[in-house]
Subunit: 132 residues, 2 copies
């Protein structure tokens, strides 16, 4: 049995970030907050949802650490904190690099096959990719 | 009212990809499949979950387009398709660039403030970031 479970990078932070990003309303809210802080009412306004519904989305974003709320009397202003997104980007880019490497190998193999048996044509080197 | 809803990039593809990535078991399954194709049994083995539970996770990954299943008799072999991950990486990197830009502006403002009133010391240029 191959135990790959112990190699899993990230954890609860990634769970929360990806969960937060899995909804179009929450992604739109983050987009709005990238421009400037906004009140809960302003965040809810463009959507055909109740203030309570918007508030639930905002709570998911808060739990993921992507926004923090500033309370002044009855006005709740939401501020963006983009830092947790880096963990998500890193998780994806780590695996993208791995898979890109595999694609290079596959491409080289396919080119070798294209050259056909009995020819002396060497397979070209794998496509070069930008280092990131 | 600011209508930022119409500017939302991505859509159902992003919903599915981020939803798939929001669970540590599913992320571990993708990691295992990056190495080689695996049967449903092999994917389930490292986890303390039933085969039915593992199957549900695999279905979420399938719906997100991240794996496809090859059926030979009673053996179901899962193959990775990493392409949908690019959409997720692009969504995050788009906003990271935006926020990085804002941080540069903030940093410049803070340095101006540090220089203090009445001094002729100019604020240094914003930190240069790698273009991606």
């Amino acid at each position: 049995m191959v135990d790959y479970k112990s190699d899993v990078p990230g954890g609860p932070l990634l769970d929360g970030v990806f969960q937060a990003l899995s909804d179009p309303t929450r992604r739109a809210m983050l987009q709005a907050l990238a421009g400037q802080p906004r009140t809960v009412g302003e965040l809810a306004a463009p959507f055909d949802i109740s203030l309570a519904g918007a508030s639930k989305h905002i709570q998911v974003l808060e739990r993921a650490g992507l926004i923090h709320r500033e309370v002044e009397g009855r006005v709740h202003t939401c501020h963006l904190d983009a830092r947790p997104l880096h963990a998500g980007a890193e998780w994806i880019s780590h695996y993208e690099r791995f898979w890109n490497g595999k694609l290079d190998v596959l491409e080289a193999l396919l080119r070798t096959a294209d050259a056909g048996p009995g020819t002396d044509k060497p397979a070209p080197a794998p496509r070069k990719r930008k280092k990131t």
